[in-house]
Amino acid sequence: MTNKSRKWTLAALLAVTPLVATPVFAQAGVGENYRWLTFAVFAAIIAVTMYVTYLAAKRVRSASDFYTAGGGVSGLQNGWAIAGDYLSAASFLGIAGLISLYGYDGFMYSVGWLVAYITVLLLIAEPCRNIGRYTLSDILAYRNDPKKTRVVGALSTITVSTFYLTAQMVGGGVLVKTLIGINYETSVIAVGVLMLAYVLFGGMVATTWVQIIKAVLLVAASIVIVLLVWAPYGFSLPGFLADVVADPKVQARVANLLGDPAKAMSAAELGQRFLEPGLYFKAPVDQISLGMALVFGTAGLPHILMRFFTVRTAVQARRSVVWAMVIIGGFYVLTLFLGFGAARFVGPANIAAVDAGGNMAGPLLAQFIGGGPNSFFGNFMLAFVSAVAFATIVAVVAGLVLASASAMAHDLFVGVIRAGRETTPQGQVTAARVATVIVGAMSIGIGIAAKGQNVAVLVGLAFAVAASANFPCVLLTLYWKRCNTGGIVAGMLIGTIAAVGLTLVSPNLTYPKAVKAAAHKVIDAAPAKRAVASAALTSVDAAMAAKATKDLADLDKAVAKANADLAKFANDDTSFMGLEKPLFELKNPGLISIPLGFLGVIFGSLLMRDRRAESLWNEVYARQNTGLLVSKSVAL
């Protein structure tokens, strides 16, 4: 950063400082007077992406254009598109939110999302480019029974993409509702229709460009916010963090999280605790299990694998991953400042009041840094970040729908149902478009039906299935000579069933008996607490009396919630699966289900020996390492 630009950012910051004296965060979202601003920014982004789609539509003539942009994407472009595909609302808003609410643990959580790309870079990207054509199943079908492997590969692709898609739709619906104030169903339909327009007309060409545009906007917005947040500290990391830990809002949050042990700690100790591990992750083994699902799951996500077919050669595929790692990693380093900045300037309590998961931390920080809820620039920043969030959801959903549609049209329809018969190029594109409409309509339906579902569980499930089923199958068919059809089918089934099954009996689901026990505890403890607070109410110390009033209000709220829980589960003692308590204590099943998936592939292959798969090994191995005949791979 040069001196000149530093002066400029400082000047910009000073210019807006007087406006932020009394920030009010009672309501998230853009104020009524500035609603037009949001729509203007939205309209601009939609107009640009629609124009790109219009240009792309002219270029989409064959199945190859539709699925993989004709292989004409460069490594740099693909790197940005991967970042656009991967930085979903969950990682963009969720991680900044986690840091703002839980400090260090939130930042630690972001690391796994980047390390995941090492697996993709070293083991998956280049061989996949050299062996595959449009889909994950192309790789699995290469030296195995095409029909069987295509069926299991397509089912797994659709399963993983649907979990991920539902999470995006639900998260997106809530987000758009909070930010702009239109209702949940309307925002889900808006996301769905817009996404369909891109994919249906522009195929992979339009999807790629929407992802690139979105990634550039996201990174640009984050850089601007971080510059404004960090500049007053002269871009010193210890200076910035020292101010964060000295903030009473942050210290109050830590005291709140720690409960009784906090009483023995000084304010400085409480603040410092925000930079230490353990405020969010209570069970280390949970974190390790989640880490495994991330690090191996990303390499099994069908919509990410599909991106490697859009470049022409393995060298370009490698270049894509390196660029993606630079962009994604750089972005997560920025979230350190977004998250801690939001904690310092907006305050964890205010962030949690708007959204319990902290998803509004980034947008609220943008509004604050721009001048607060009553300023033009503050609302412009919020509108801009909201529009980027919306574009994020649309771009990610587009990639997922394309992956599902390709599994349906290319693997199931062309590869299995019409196997052995010639499908014309025109027929293939039509099949792809029909599948896109089916998947798109389903995603809107699922998004509306799944309103209020736990998004984190769904994203966790998507990664768990990808890591436990797709990853072992892809890895072993590429690197193990003896791997065959039996192994692929067994690995896919065992991996998927283990991941989904273990999640269904995990602590992630709601267990009415536990909820009711907690509710009874709150109600039973209430009279004693009420007596203490009532006594303090008459205290001569004004601060103590005020605190007592607040305590009483909080107590009323807690009791009301406990009663509501009791009423809700009055006739219900068991979870969705009919269980009174979790059978399996891990929140993410990866630690168990990933090894099971590998064992499935290994034993399946050994039990059902297949000479043909072994005889094709030389071809697979030579081809993935030399890139010979890339354009001719996978005869249908």
Binding site: P238, V245, G278, T626
Partner: protein
Amino acid sequence: MPASNVADWDAIIRDPRFQSLHRRKTTFLWGLMAISVVYYFLLPVGAAYYQDLFKIRVWGVVNVGILFALSEFVVAWVIALAYSRKASRDYDVMAAEIAKEYGGVKTEAVEGVLV
């Protein structure tokens, strides 16, 4: 481009140059993979079992834990860079030589070193 859809794959596999490519790639790739996995899991393990170490302040309020988490990013980038340099200087050239002889296919190794 060759006219046919088949190359002599068995001959490629037997070729000493391919054998050498395979050996060098396997050691380097899986070695890097092992380093990255071990280094990554040191973070959650350290955060869970070595909290006293992670809490030591080394640079103002910045503690070992924060520096270690930041180092994860640096290590990931260094591994990516190390692999891509090695691949474009070494493996791509060897692969191009083999591909040229057996298929006459032009590859991108000639484009030179990446990043």
